[in-house]
Symmetry: C2
Subunit: 362 residues, 2 copies
C-alpha cells in the first residue's frame, strides 16, 4: 500500500492506494471520530462492495443510502435523500459520511457532508479510475442545477481517501479509458517523466496490472495534490487542471451529456489544446505528435466528433463574445510537462484548430 498526504494545513489528509484496501478496518477507524457512519453508494456499486465496507464499520451505528446511478441524479434532490437518511437515523454532528462509488457519488456525498448540520466529516472510497485520480482528491463537491453543471457545491476536504485498485477490475473498459485521459493530463501539464512512463506502460495500466495501477494512481494523485495545495479554492493555478476541458465541454454539450464520456471529451479536447499550442509555435511538433499518439494508443478519441463544425465550437466556447472581453482563458502547452493558463493567443490559430479535422497535431 502507498500513502500520500494532501498538504492543506489543518485540512490535510492521507490518500491510501493499493489492492484489497476495502476490507481494511484500520484504514477507516482513525478517521471516524463519533460512533455513527452513513455509507452512501449507488445501485451499481453497492451490490459489489457495500458489504465489505459495512463489515469495516461493524463497531459503529452504520446506516446506508443507495442512490440511483448516473450523472442525471447528481441533484439537490439526491442530497436531500441523504439528509433524510441522516435525520431519520438521528445522526449528529460527529457522524462520518462514506462515499462509496464514482465521481457522482463522491460529489453528492461530499456536498451533503459539507452541509449537514453545517459540516460533518466524510471519507472518499472511489471505485472508478476517474474518481481515484481526479474527483476524490481536492475537496470539490457539489451537484448540478437544471441550468448548469456543478453550479451548487462547496469546497470540503475529506478525512481520507481510500483507493482500492481491485475495484477497477469490475469497471467497464470504456470507463477505465475515460479515467486514463485525466492520467495523461497530469503528464502533459506538469510531469514529463510520468508522461514518458505512460508511453511505455499504458497497456499494463489499461490491463489493470496492479503495480502499474498503483504507480499510476500514486503519481496522478501526487500531481493533483501539489496543484491543489497551492490553490485550494481555484483562484489561480488550480485551473491548470482544466487542460482540454474547455474544448471538451463544448463537445459534451454538442453531443448531449452522456454520449461522450467526460474523459473521452477531455482526451479530444487535450489534442485540440496541444494542436493550438503547436500552431502558436509554443510546443514542438515532436511533443505535439507524441501527445496525440499516447491518446490514440490508449483507445481514446483523439479527434472531436466529425459532425462538429468550427462554428459550433466558436459558439459553444462563446469565443466571439469572450475573446472581445479578453476573457477566454485556455490551458495551453509550452512542452510536455509544462502548461500555462492564458488568454493571450492568436484567435486565427484557434480558428485553424477548429477547422483542422484529422490534421490535429499532425
Amino acid at each position: 500500500m502507498q500513502t500520500l498526504e494532501v498538504d492543506l494545513g489543518d485540512r490535510s489528509y492521507p490518500i491510501h492506494i493499493g489492492p484489497g484496501l476495502l476490507g481494511k478496518l484500520d484504514l477507516l477507524t482513525p478517521h471516524i471520530h463519533g460512533n455513527q457512519v452513513m455509507i452512501v453508494s449507488n445501485e451499481t456499486v453497492a451490490p459489489l462492495y457495500l458489504e465489505q465496507v459495512k463489515a469495516g464499520c461493524a463497531s459503529y451505528q452504520c446506516d446506508v443510502v443507495i442512490l440511483p446511478d448516473g450523472e442525471v441524479f447528481k441533484t439537490l434532490e439526491s442530497v436531500n435523500l441523504i439528509f433524510d437518511g441522516l435525520l431519520k437515523a438521528r445522526h449528529n454532528r460527529t457522524t462520518t459520511l462514506i462515499a462509496l462509488g464514482g465521481g457522482v457519488v463522491g460529489d453528492i456525498t461530499g456536498f451533503a457532508a459539507a452541509s449537514y448540520q453545517r459540516g460533518v466529516n466524510f471519507i472518499q472510497i472511489p471505485t472508478t479510475l476517474l474518481s481515484q485520480v481526479d474527483s476524490s482528491v481536492g475537496g470539490k463537491t457539489g451537484v448540478n442545477h437544471a441550468l448548469g453543471k456543478n453550479m451548487i457545491g462547496a469546497f470540503h476536504q475529506p478525512q481520507c481517501v481510500i483507493a482500492d485498485t481491485e475495484t477497477l477490475n469490475t469497471l467497464p473498459i470504456r470507463e477505465l479509458r475515460a479515467g486514463f485521459a485525466e492520467v495523461i493530463k497530469y503528464g502533459l501539464i506538469c510531469d514529463a517523466p510520468f508522461f514518458d512512463w505512460l508511453e511505455q506502460n499504458c497497456e499494463s495500466v489499461l490491463a489493470c496490472d496492479t503495480a502499474a495501477l498503483v504507480y499510476t494512481l500514486q503519481r496522478s494523485c501526487q500531481n493533483k495534490a501539489l496543484v491543489v495545495a497551492q490553490d485550494e479554492r481555484e483562484s489561480g493555478i488550480r485551473a491548470i487542471l482544466n487542460l482540454g476541458h474547455t474544448f471538451g465541454h463544448a463537445i459534451e454539450t454538442a453531443q448531449g451529456y452522456g454520449n461522450w464520456l467526460h474523459g473521452e471529451a477531455v482526451a479530444a479536447g487535450m489534442v485540440m489544446a496541444v494542436d493550438l499550442s503547436a500552431r502558436l509555435g509554443w510546443i514542438s511538433a515532436g511533443d505535439s505528435q507524441r501527445s496525440r499518439a499516447l491518446i490514440e494508443a490508449s483507445g481514446l478519441p483523439a479527434l472531436p466528433p466529425e459532425d462538429m463544425t468550427a462554428e459550433q465550437f466558436m459558439e459553444l466556447m462563446a469565443v466571439d463574445k469572450k475573446v472581445l472581453d479578453g476573457a477566454l482563458r485556455l490551458v495551453l502547452m509550452k512542452a510536455i510537462g509544462d502548461a500555462v493558463i492564458t488568454s493571450e493567443f492568436d484567435v486565427q490559430a484557434l480558428a485553424d484548430t477548429f477547422a483542422a479535422g484529422d490534421g490535429l497535431c499532425a
Copy 2:
C-alpha cells in the same frame, strides 16, 4: 455611525451600525468585487426598503429575488429559487448576494452564497432587531429540513453587515421585544455593565430611541463577535450563546413553531436557566430576581406556558435519555455576566425548576 470589526483572520468583516445607512452607497461598494449583485428579500421587507438598496447598486448588474415571508419558507426550495435567479441572469463566481430582511432571509441567502459555484460573497442588511444583534453576525447560515430545524447549512461569513436602526421603526413591537431577549442574553452571559445599562434604558430601546438602539446594537454585536472570534465553528465556548435556548426550544416545540416567537421562548427559557442556577446555589437570589425583572419589564414572557407540564419538558429536552448519557449540557449562570456550559448539575434541581410555576427566580 459606529463600526465594529469581527476578528476572524482573513474572514474578518465590519459591522456598520446607525440610522439612515441603507442609502449609503459607500458602505456597499468596497465589499462588491465583481460587477453583479443579487438582492434577496421577502414580500414584507421588499416594499419598504428594496428601492433604497437597489439605488445603492445602480452601477452594477443588479437582480432581485423576492421570497415569501416566514420561517416555513426557510427551505432548500427557497435556496433553489435563488440559484434559479442567479443562473438565469448568468451570475458568475464574482457575484455578491445581498440579504435584505430578517433572520430567515439572512440564513437562506447566506447558505445560497456559501453554495453557489462553491461559494460567493454576500452582504447582510438585517432589518429586524433579532437579526441585527444575533443571526447576521457569526456566519451561521442554513435552512430547515422537514425533520429538523437548521439541519442544513454552512459556516459562511459575510463581507460586511449593515444594520440600519431606522428599519426598526417599521418592526411590530412584539418582534422588537423578541429581539430584545437576545440583547438581555448578552448582558447575562458576559457583560454585567451592559445588563445594568439595560435595566436603566430598556424603555428607550423599545421606544426605538436612536442613540439607545445604536448603543444596544453595538454592545450586543461586540459581545457576539468576541465569542464567535474565539470559536467560529461552535466546537466549544460559542455554545454559551445558547443561554435559555434548550428550554426555549422545548417551549417552541410544545406550542408549535410560530405561536411563541423564538425570542419569547428564549426569554422564558433564560428565566428557567437562571432559576436552576439559583437552586444549585450558583447565582445569588438578588441576581436571579433582577434577571426575571428585566425580562418582565421588557414585556417578554418570564414564565413558560401555563399548560406545559414538567413531564413535557423532561420529554422534549430528552432529559431521561440525555442525563443517563451525561449528555444534557445547559448554559447556566454563576452571576449576571458570568455563564458556564455544563452537564454537571443536580437533576432534582432541574425537576424543581420544571415544577416551579410562578415561583421561578422568586
